[in-house]
Symmetry: C2
Subunit: 648 residues, 2 copies
């Protein structure tokens, strides 16, 4: 990873600005119950009560503390790239408060401290106790890296040390693990920051213990006399929901709550890489394959159903009832980056890019004020509320949620987006994302700056410039995205075409040389409009086509194409053109073409007719990138469109 | 209606035999808690306790009494066509018991008598009190017609008289109506049997009161202090669920619980016809149009979602998550027959036939022992239990249900099927269904027997023979089904071809003459295989085709076509052949043809691929009638199949 990273990119800078200027300040107000139109969060207030500085009862979700932690983590990433004394002061203030709410033994959790002081660690399946701790630890590490201040890191370490006294293989400790994975990856960050191997061992213990028999959750549930925290799901006994149905090394398919699965996988990848545990890494690869080859939407969304916000079965990818939670795609990005760090292969970055440019950025409105939790690929607003299978679907982005997991997760991911662009391994820098900015590296004792000027999102071009005090030998490995064919890629070194064919390994074009300051690499990908088809086992996409151009998956909206989008067809041979529309939704490239619309039938009252071919009329079709949907009011949307005149 | 009716039909007789020999005896055992593999019903036991002949508490659903009533009604219809002393003795015994459980005031309802004696009529929205009474009344009328015995009719009349003292426009009476319509049509039967206009007025009152403001259910709910009987649905305030959202005359679309809607419509049609209430009849026509032109599956199923077992929105007809309850299609048959009696028009009979030959008969297994409650048009067994949107779908028929509404409803409909074949109006006999048997009529003082030898279901032929003591002038109106074109129909009178063109009115070929005994009419419909398409506003069927031959809608099963049925395509011009298979599932006509199956892709791990045409391989396709599905174990099923090479 680069030592330092600053982003300046024609696509992403605006989103990062929104996080800085809108999302994080808004969230700060929300956490302090100062947003009139939103339900109070109570999150800061809970800490004040726990610190003895206010009176009252705990309110909010059992994991409400994690909102504060995620906010701190996002704030830290913002501070890392740009000083902001007011933000830092607010962060310091809340860190102080957390410290005062921490128990003498290191425990921090306002729910249990205030509501169930005797209930600590009695309901790991449901109560997110270690999950909340994990977020606090992530925030502590991030804040220390950003500011050098150890205040929150100390709190986090004390908490982790205390957890280490509670859980572990030794007799008398609890042999359990959290229902919602998160502590595992957080402890690995703390280990990396501190060098203290105890944190790594504890993370490893949680992962190895997961799915062990006899089952820990049932045991706790019985000991509690069957007390249940969340009644809608059977978290205590539906073990797959929490990926506790099998030891992690034996899990062969992505099951259960999608966010939990990818958070778990991120932790597994960290531990496997650090410990050289090839068996666990192989489990990561299997779960990755299960997700991306059988259970992922073309938008990088995962989780096919509302029930349990979970995976269902291979190739079950309904577009209209999809859950595809924003947080799950964020977790998929976490998982992908860790796989890249261990085993740089372009496929991981392809999926990371797919999730980022479509579901993740689509989760936020263009003003940073409204968010999607659920990211369907097909929406019929009129049906929502009528057909109750769509109860979870919102036709437009919503304000802050009661369970506010997605907005702060978008914030912390975008604020730390620099961590996802490159991976350094030895003398190789892998460019995984073509996002403009500067990154600083220390290679072989030399300070190296890699400058990227990217026009990738819309035009498929990027230029990398090396700045170094002295020539440095290293390999630049430039990802060839899965949406293009290497044969069409132009690679130029200092303006001279460089043959690409033999240079490709693992999906990267590799350039090894002694680089001098000012050396430039240009890479240009042909931005064709691609007609995507789903695997024929996906019944929801058979006979249909989705358009992709560069990293963007496209969709049709009612605003451009009128209602009843399912009546539209794209001929197999119809010409499609990309056109820049600088005024539409902040500027984007639309795709246009002529398709057909099935005409109204001669007898409107005839629901079924024999031996007819419905007539069609030509229809001007217009697609916009999926991420930009639902910014023009409520209307139908569809990613997949029927293809006419095609045979397979 | 004919005076008497006996069925002897190559398709239907076997089902009626099953009702007589299997379903009704099995149900009798079930009602008496003598079926070891089923949950006890408690239904008879509840009556014994209410009669003071056993001790214990009420058990079962709040409408458990209706199971006994439906059984009695089915038994009555069986007795009407064939004596069965043992069955009659059992019926007499349970009628005696009901009589002893009836209150001095005429009230019968074991739930309220035993569980909530103070709660009578306090929760009309939820507790089915008048619904249960309606079923008892229907049974009383049927038993009297079948046996001449007035025992149950007297119980029913006393109950109806009592209800008449409780409900009505007069001050001091309750101005309410039942959440589940049924009493309305039942009172009309009682009125017809007794001539007592009070019953008609009460039925009319219930219908006119429905949807009145201020809302009766909310009022009762408040008076009960918010007590709720069923917690899963908000029956007290979701007024459309019970069709109480608007006065019935103002309802323009089929809303809410599908069974309730069609039961209500049946009552409305009865009242409108009897009272000449054209406004109410117009409401019936509107609701009919809403159902059959916008909200009905091609199988005659209605109710697009599990939630509330209800309608959703125009053209929302998902095949896989369909509810399409068997009872709802039965209710649709009730509604259609009443419309036919008032206003004979073939369309009503077309829909009646569609429901009967597909969803209704498909609701029962070929051995009469297993039943479908939910009738999807597309099933993926592997998904059930994994994608929880399919929780209501069963891939094979089930034994008796906890809420045992469908099996006894199938039994009473099939046992009374003779009531649905003809409608007599003045000197016209309308043949609505081509089901073989004898019917006896009294026309102009003459006894006329109409004998039908039908080979309609599989071969599209029927012969009607008239037997009469003296020549009788009347019109035979023979329905031209919606699945054929009149131009291809052959009509023969005493062996001589009769021109059909000018003879058709309202969908019937009309033959008026002075018929002599032995006169024969042959009608022959060309049984072509029809490729059905859904209205283009139905997004679930766009680009797809379903086959129909005669009254039967066909489906593909995995048993014949292998798994992943969605990969199959039927070319627009592919030849299809019907073939009799005498050994398959009791003998049926299959449809065969050559289609194509999308091949496995070259890279199994690639979930999305660009600019590919999946290869196809030829596939021998075989369809069976929908009603016969799921009789060969668990497997995929699909009614709709993708059409290839088609443009609209």
């Amino acid at each position: 990873m680069p030592k330092r990273q600053r982003i300046e990119d024609p696509f992403w800078s605006e989103y990062i600005r929104l996080v800085r200027e809108v999302v994080v300040p808004y969230q700060w107000d929300a956490l302090n119950d100062r947003v009139p139109e939103a339900e109070p969060s109570y999150a800061i207030r809970n800490f004040k009560i726990a610190a003895g500085e206010e009176r009252g009862r705990f309110r909010g979700m059992v994991f409400q503390d994690s909102d504060v932690a995620k906010w701190l983590e996002a704030a830290a990433y913002l501070l890392e790239t740009e000083p902001d004394p007011a933000l830092e002061a607010a962060a310091d203030e809340v860190i102080g408060l957390i410290g005062r709410a921490q128990g003498d033994d290191g425990y921090v959790n306002t729910y249990f401290t205030l509501e169930e002081p005797e209930g600590r660690w009695t309901n790991l399946a449901e109560c997110h106790e270690l999950y909340v701790a994990g977020h606090l630890i992530e925030a502590g590490v991030a804040y220390w890296r950003a500011t050098g201040k150890t205040s929150l890191l100390r709190i986090a370490s004390r908490l982790a040390d205390y957890i280490d006294t509670v859980f572990g293989p030794e007799p008398g400790k609890l042999h359990g693990y959290d229902g919602h994975p998160e502590i595992e990856l957080a402890l690995m960050k703390l280990y990396e920051a501190s060098g203290n191997e105890a944190y790594m061992r504890l993370s490893q213990y949680f992962l190895n213990q997961r799915g062990a028999k006899p089952d820990f959750y049932s045991d706790q549930w019985e000991k509690r006399g069957g007390a249940v925290h969340f009644h809608e799901l059977d978290m205590n006994r539906d073990l797959a929901y929490s990926q506790a149905h099998l030891p992690v090394r034996e899990q062969r398919s992505a099951e259960g709550h999608a966010v939990r699965l990818v958070y778990m996988c991120a932790g597994m990848a960290d531990v496997a890489a650090e410990t050289g545990d090839e068996e666990m890494m192989e489990a990561c690869r299997r779960l990755w394959r299960s997700i991306v080859s059988r259970r992922m939407y073309i938008t990088g969304g995962i989780g096919s159903q509302r029930h349990g916000e979970s995976f269902t079965l291979d190739y079950d990818l309904p577009g209209d009832t999809a859950y595809a939670e924003t947080c799950a795609s964020i977790g998929l990005v976490f998982f992908a980056r860790r796989m890249l760090e261990h085993d740089p292969h372009a496929e991981y970055a392809d999926v990371m890019e797919r999730a980022l440019y479509n579901t993740v950025v689509g989760g936020m409105s263009r003003d940073g004020r409204r968010f999607f939790y659920v990211n369907p690929l097909e929406v019929f607003p009129a049906l929502i509320g009528r057909n109750r299978n769509y109860d979870h679907v919102k036709p437009v982005r919503q304000g802050w949620f009661g369970c506010a997991c997605c907005p702060p997760n978008i914030a912390r991911l975008l604020a730390s987006l620099g961590q996802y662009i490159y991976v350094g391994k030895g003398r190789t820098i892998y460019a995984n994302l073509y996002i403009g900015g500067e990154s600083r590296w220390e290679i072989d004792g030399a300070e190296v700056m890699l400058e990227q000027q990217s026009d990738y999102a819309w035009n498929g071009k990027s230029r990398l410039t090396i700045r170094t005090g002295r020539p440095v030998e290293l390999t630049l490995a430039l990802r060839i995205p899965d949406w293009t064919d290497a044969s069409g890629v132009e690679l130029l070194v200092n303006g001279a075409l460089h043959p690409i064919e033999g240079a490709i390994a693992d999906g990267y074009a590799r350039l090894t040389r002694a680089w001098e300051s000012g050396d430039q690499v240009d890479i240009r990908f042909p931005l064709e409009i691609r007609r995507m088809k789903g695997h024929p086992s996906v019944r929801h996409t058979v006979g249909k086509v989705a358009l992709q151009r560069g990293p963007f998956v496209y969709c049709l909206e009612e605003a451009d194409n009128g209602p009843e989008l399912h009546r539209l067809r794209l001929p197999g041979d119809g010409e499609l053109l990309a056109r820049r529309d600088g005024s539409l939704l902040g500027g984007l490239t639309v795709i246009e073409g002529t398709g057909e619309r099935i005409s109204d039938p001669p007898d409107e009252d005839k629901l079924y007719a024999a031996d007819v071919d419905w007539g069609t009329e030509p229809a001007a079709l217009r697609w916009i990138p999926y991420y930009a949907w639902a910014n023009r009011g409520e209307g139908e949307m569809a990613v997949w469109i029927g293809e006419s005149g095609e045979e397979g």
